[in-house]
Symmetry: C2
Subunit: 205 residues, 2 copies
Amino acid sequence: MSRKKGRLFVISGPSGTGKGTVCAELLKDIGNEFSVSMTTRAPREGEVHGKDYFFVSRDEFIANIEAGNFLEHASVFDNLYGTPKDMVLNRLERGYNVILDIDVQGGLQVKKSHPEAVLIFILPPSLAELRRRLEGRGTEDAEKIEKRLGQALNEIKLIGEYDYYIVNSDIDEAAALARSIMAAEAAKVPESVRPIIREYEKETK
Amino acid sequence: MSRKKGRLFVISGPSGTGKGTVCAELLKDIGNEFSVSMTTRAPREGEVHGKDYFFVSRDEFIANIEAGNFLEHASVFDNLYGTPKDMVLNRLERGYNVILDIDVQGGLQVKKSHPEAVLIFILPPSLAELRRRLEGRGTEDAEKIEKRLGQALNEIKLIGEYDYYIVNSDIDEAAALARSIMAAEAAKVPESVRPIIREYEKETK
């Protein structure tokens, strides 16, 4: 029985909730592929062009918007981020699940153009814990962290637009739950059940 | 964050697909409870009254129908089967997931009165394999097995009314997928998201 069509999953959540780590875990599974985003922000230490992001200039990014090359794009903390459309659609057509690690606004844009996309929201155990994680990362000053916490709460207020939520208290448990969600989505009875029924009917002919 | 309300799961599928074994696996998990059905059929060897079924006379069964005591009831191969309502509702209220091992017609009755119930259909890998399993059980003659295979195909034709399907080729994989479905259902964003948002908002006060 064919279950071969790729599915589009969006993993969102406030900065610092560990959604990147959840995505990295899912990408260890056969059949799941990532989509590399484009951004105008500066690379962090260790980030690789074409693997973590396509790092481009503001002018290049805007040219891509104008050409309609993005599935979604957004401005986050004065930087632009976007998901190249062709990369995602090619992979879905080839039967891979595509996992998008994008912010909440981007997730909502994807849902609008692709209602069949499955949206998963990663929540921190608490804002206090989120603050500890952001401080521990040591990449941002106090002012930026406050800005992120305010932004986190604003994003959480949009959770009602999402399909599933995962509280990330433990990365292994969070990844396991994300895998369960993906497995359950693949086990949903499809709108057209004729192909399933036909498999059994043809045995009786 | 409270995720405490019990959920109602219906596991159905043609006789011989192994839905009973899948249910038995799920009942090993904490928080999941079974509902013991009532039946007029004769106990098979090893079956225990009050554990496998409540074995009752036809008169007693009909009295229970008339008293409105069933969540669903059906006639299958000249025997009556029913799910006592009070047992299920009590367990859901106490926060347990209730797993009903019932036939397809019964599943549809439950969905009608409890639209929030999650219906899972267990499929055999093929009708040929289903025949082998029924023959291997050695409890029914050839005529009864033919009747069951015809009934199996009729039930499979109703799969479109179900939420999820599992092809039971391997019992461990089938049980794992059923667990994933239960976990994913518990991770669905609820209709009312205010309680979730409030958890984070109150930290900022």
